[in-house]
C-alpha cells in the first residue's frame, strides 16, 4: 500500500509540475474511441473579481485548446487487450490533439473504464490529543483506517475521505479546527486490477508521455454529467460506454460507490451483426442510424437495406424492417440495464434519499432509452450530457465524452485523496527515546 501511496504522490507532483507548465493532456481510453483533450491552465488571474464570475466548478480556470478522437483499437471491456494497437491509437489521438493545440504536451491524465473496480467503505477513528483537529490529525485518522484485504494483484485507484465526524457530530466536510475528543472518518476506496493499469502505463510511456494522474472513468463521468444538486443530494450516474458500463453513486459531492458492468454498446452491435448476419461496420451503421428500443407500428414498414458485396444476389439484396432491428437491440439493452439494477441494489442505492439516475455515455444516445431505463431503474431517470467547459469543440460535447470532460475537471480540481496528506510520523520520537534508554541500560 505504501508503494501505491508513493506512486500516487509522485503522480500528484507531476500534475503540479504540469500545472506549472500550464499544459496537460487528458486521455480517455475507451473501448470504442480514444479521446485526447489538451488543456491549458490560465492561472488564477484570468477572471477579475469584479466580473462576478468566480471559478465555478473549475471550468473557468482551464481551457481546452486541442481535442482529437480516434477509433479505439485493441481495447476490450475498457482494458487494454493489444498493447501495440492501443499504443498506436493513443499516439494518433495525442498527435492530432497536439497539432490542434500547437503545443507539445508531456503530462497526461488518463481515465479508463475496465479493470473490475470494486468499492470499499473504510472507517477509522483516532483520539484527539490537544482537543482540536489539525492537519496532522486528519492524516492520522486517514491512516488509521483498517484497510480490508482487497486481494492480490489489485491496486487502489481512489481513496477519498467522504465524511468526517468529530465526537458525535457527523457530516463534516472539513473538520480542521473543530474541537472534540475523537475524530472519525469514512473513506471510500476503489481498487482495480493491477495488470490493466500497468498496461496503460506502459502504453503511455511508449508514447513519451508521463502519467500525471489516473481516474476511473465511471467517477469521471459522474463528476461531469451530474449537476451540482444531484451530486449533493445523491444520484447514480450510468455511463453506457462501448465495452463496459460504468456505475457511480454520488452523495454530498463525493463518490461513495463505483462499479462496472462488462457490457456496452459494442455488444449491441455484435448482436445485430450476428442476428442479421451483416459485418460489424454495417451493424454499427444500422445501430446508429436506425437503432431504438421502442418499436411502434410505423417501424414494421420502415425497411432497411442490408446491401453487401458477396456476389450472392439473394444475400446482397436482403432488407430488414426497423422493428426487427429493435427486436434485436432491446433484449441486450434490457440485459445491461437489469445488470445495472442488480449492482445498484447490491450497493444499497434504494436507501439513498434521492433516487435520481443519470444516463450518459455514447450508448445513451439510443432513442427511447430513457423510457426503457425508467421502467427498469426507476422513475427519476434523465439523459445527461457532460458539463460545458471552455473551449470544448462542438464535436466533443456529446454524452460519449462525459468521462473525458470529467477527467478534465478531475485534472483541474482533484478531490482530496488519501495520498494528499502526509503520513504522520507519530511515535517516532518516543520510540527512539526508548531505544536510547535501552541502550544506556544495556551498557551501564
Amino acid at each position: 500500500m505504501t508503494d501505491l501511496y508513493q506512486s500516487q504522490r509522485a503522480m500528484r507532483n507531476k500534475r503540479q509540475a504540469a500545472m506549472q507548465r500550464g499544459v496537460i493532456a487528458v486521455l480517455d481510453v475507451g473501448s470504442s474511441k480514444i479521446a485526447c483533450l489538451v488543456l491549458r491552465f490560465d492561472g488564477p488571474d484570468s477572471f477579475r473579481d469584479s466580473d462576478g464570475i468566480g471559478s465555478m466548478a473549475g471550468q473557468s480556470s482551464f481551457r481546452v485548446i486541442g481535442a482529437a478522437t480516434t477509433r479505439s483499437r485493441g481495447v476490450r471491456f475498457g482494458e487494454i487487450d493489444a498493447m501495440h494497437e492501443t499504443e498506436r491509437a493513443i499516439r494518433t489521438a495525442v498527435q492530432a490533439a497536439q497539432k490542434m493545440a500547437g503545443v507539445r504536451v508531456d503530462h497526461v491524465i488518463a481515465c479508463f473504464a475496465g479493470a473490475k473496480p470494486r468499492s470499499y467503505g473504510l472507517a477509522g477513528s483516532v483520539d484527539l490529543h490537544d482537543g482540536a483537529v489539525t492537519d496532522n490529525c486528519v492524516a492520522r485518522v486517514l491512516s488509521s483506517c483498517d484497510v480490508p484485504d482487497y486481494g492480490e494483484n489489485r491496486e487502489i485507484l481512489h481513496a477519498q475521505p467522504v465524511n468526517f465526524a468529530v465526537d458525535h457530530r457527523s457530516g463534516l466536510a472539513d473538520p480542521r479546527g473543530q474541537a472534540g475528543n475523537s475524530l472519525s472518518v469514512d473513506m471510500h476506496m476503489l481498487s482495480v486490477d493491477r495488470a490493466p493499469i500497468e498496461n496503460l502505463l506502459y502504453c503511455i510511456k511508449r508514447c513519451d508521455l508521463e502519467l500525471a494522474g489516473i481516474a476511473s472513468s465511471s467517477y469521471a463521468a459522474g463528476i461531469s454529467s451530474l449537476v451540482e444538486d444531484e451530486q449533493e443530494l445523491g444520484a447514480a450516474c450510468i455511463d453506457l460506454g462501448g465495452g463496459s458500463t460504468g456505475i457511480s453513486i454520488f452523495i454530498k459531492k463525493h463518490m461513495i460507490y463505483a462499479d462496472t458492468v462488462r457490457m456496452g454498446g459494442d455488444h449491441v452491435t455484435s448482436d445485430i451483426s450476428q442476428g442479421l448476419q451483416v459485418p460489424m461496420p454495417t451493424a454499427e451503421r444500422i445501430k446508429t442510424f436506425y437503432g431504438g428500443v421502442q418499436a411502434t407500428g410505423m417501424d414494421d414498414r420502415d425497411m432497411i437495406d442490408l446491401s453487401s458485396d458477396t456476389g450472392d444476389w439473394e444475400h446482397d439484396r436482403r432488407t430488414v424492417s426497423r422493428a426487427e432491428v429493435i427486436g434485436v437491440m432491446r433484449p441486450r439493452m434490457e440485459e445491461i440495464l437489469e445488470e445495472v439494477r442488480v449492482r445498484l441494489d447490491a450497493a444499497g442505492f434504494e436507501h439513498l434519499p434521492s433516487q435520481r439516475i443519470v444516463l450518459t455515455g455514447g450508448a445513451s444516445q439510443l432513442p427511447g432509452l430513457d423510457g426503457l431505463a425508467s421502467r427498469i431503474l426507476g422513475q427519476q431517470v434523465r439523459l445527461g450530457r457532460p458539463l460545458r467547459v471552455q473551449g470544448l469543440p462542438q464535436s466533443v460535447t456529446g454524452p460519449g465524452f462525459a468521462s473525458a470532460v470529467g477527467t478534465c475537471l478531475f485534472a483541474a480540481h482533484p478531490q482530496d485523496e488519501w495520498w494528499d496528506f502526509d503520513i504522520p510520523v507519530e511515535g517516532y520520537p518516543a520510540r527512539s527515546l526508548k531505544r536510547a534508554v535501552k541502550w544506556f541500560k544495556d551498557n551501564w
Binding site: 499516439r91 497536439q98 513519451d208
Partner: protein
C-alpha cells in the same frame, strides 16, 4: 486473387496512426525552443557562417577593399568636387607669396582630400597673419581670407630689428630702421612683451616727440625714454605714465629738457633726481664757490 490492373496496388492498411518516429518528430517540432532554433537560430547561423566563410579569405577581403577605395576615388574625383583655384584675399604681395609657399596642396585636388583645418593652422602659423579662414567655394575655388598683422613698433631685439604689432607679436624682420621711420622705436630685452605699455608711453610723450628716439625696456621691468643729446628719462616700474606726465609738466614749467641734464631719474616718484653733465656740474659748483678736489 491477383488484380488484373498492375497499377491497382493493394490498399495499405487503414491505419491512421503515425509511426513512432514521425510522432517523435512532430513532438520535437512542437517544442518551442526547438522551433525557435530551427526557424531563427539556424538560418541566422547559416547566413553568418557563410558570410564569415566568404570573407575569411584574405584575397577576397583585399579585392573588396580595393573595389571600395576605387569607387570612393572615382566619386571623389568627379569634376564637381575638384578644387582648381586658390584665391587669397586681404594679404599683401609678400604675404600672398608666403602663403602660397606654405600651402601644402597641389591644385587641382579633390575637396575630399583637403584638410581645411590643417591648412588654416598652417597659414596662421605665419607671423604676419593675424586671422585666416579657409573655405571651398562654389566652382572649385579655395578661398583664403587673411587678416594681416599691422606693424606698430620697431623693436631692436636680440635677433636684430623686428616689426611688432600692437600686441607685441612679431610681424616681420626689418633691415634698417630707416625703412620704417614712421614707426616708434623700442629696445631692450623683454620689450616685445610690453608693447602696449610702450605705445601708451609714446603717446603720452607726444609733446617731446621730435626729440624722442625711443623707449628702452630695462631689466624687463621698467622703461627709459631716450631723447637725443643723450638725455634719458628713467621711469618707475609702476605708474610710468603718470611719472612721465610729471616730467613733461616740469619741462613745460621750467624747460627742463633744454637744460644741460643727462638723466631725469623719477624711479622713486617721491624723490625725482637730476643728473647733470660734468660741465654743468663744475659750472654750478663754481657759481656756488665750492671747491672740490678733483681726484682725476
Amino acid at each position: 486473387m491477383r488484380p488484373l490492373n498492375p497499377f491497382n496496388k493493394p490498399q495499405p492498411s487503414n491505419d491512421p496512426a503515425p509511426s513512432r518516429w514521425s510522432y517523435r518528430m512532430e513532438r520535437l517540432w512542437l517544442t518551442p525552443s526547438f522551433r525557435r532554433i530551427v526557424r531563427v537560430g539556424m538560418p541566422s547561423f547559416l547566413v553568418v557562417a557563410s558570410l564569415g566563410l566568404y570573407f575569411s579569405n584574405a584575397d577576397r577581403q583585399q579585392a573588396i577593399a580595393d573595389k571600395y577605395t576605387e569607387i570612393r576615388r572615382s566619386i571623389e574625383e568627379r569634376p564637381e568636387f575638384m578644387v582648381k583655384l586658390m584665391a587669397i584675399d586681404g594679404a599683401s604681395t609678400g604675404l600672398n607669396s608666403a602663403i602660397r609657399e606654405v600651402m601644402p596642396v597641389d591644385l587641382p585636388i579633390s575637396s575630399f582630400d583637403l584638410d581645411l583645418e590643417a591648412m588654416r593652422k598652417q597659414v596662421e602659423s605665419l607671423d604676419a597673419v593675424k586671422r585666416v579662414d579657409v573655405r571651398v567655394r562654389k566652382g572649385g575655388l579655395l578661398q583664403i581670407n587673411v587678416e594681416e598683422r599691422v606693424p606698430a613698433v620697431v623693436w631692436r631685439g636680440p635677433d636684430g630689428l623686428e616689426l611688432l604689432d600692437g600686441d607685441g607679436h612679431r610681424v616681420s624682420a626689418l633691415q634698417t630702421r630707416s625703412a620704417r621711420p614712421d614707426l616708434p622705436f623700442i629696445a631692450g630685452e623683454g620689450a616685445n612683451a610690453a608693447v602696449p605699455e610702450a605705445l601708451a608711453l609714446i603717446e603720452r610723450a607726444a609733446p617731446i616727440r621730435d626729440r624722442m628716439i625711443g623707449v628702452v625696456r630695462i631689466s624687463e621691468r621698467r622703461w627709459d625714454v631716450v631723447l637725443d643729446r643723450a638725455q634719458r628719462i628713467m621711469l618707475p616700474p609702476r605708474d610710468a605714465a603718470r611719472a612721465l606726465d610729471r616730467v613733461l609738466a616740469l619741462n613745460d614749467a621750467q624747460d627742463l629738457l633744454a637744460r644741460d641734464v643727462t638723466h631725469i631719474d623719477i624711479r622713486n616718484p617721491d624723490r625725482p633726481t637730476l643728473r647733470m653733465s660734468s660741465d654743468a656740474l663744475a659750472f654750478m659748483r663754481e657759481m656756488q664757490g665750492i671747491q672740490v678736489k678733483n681726484n682725476q
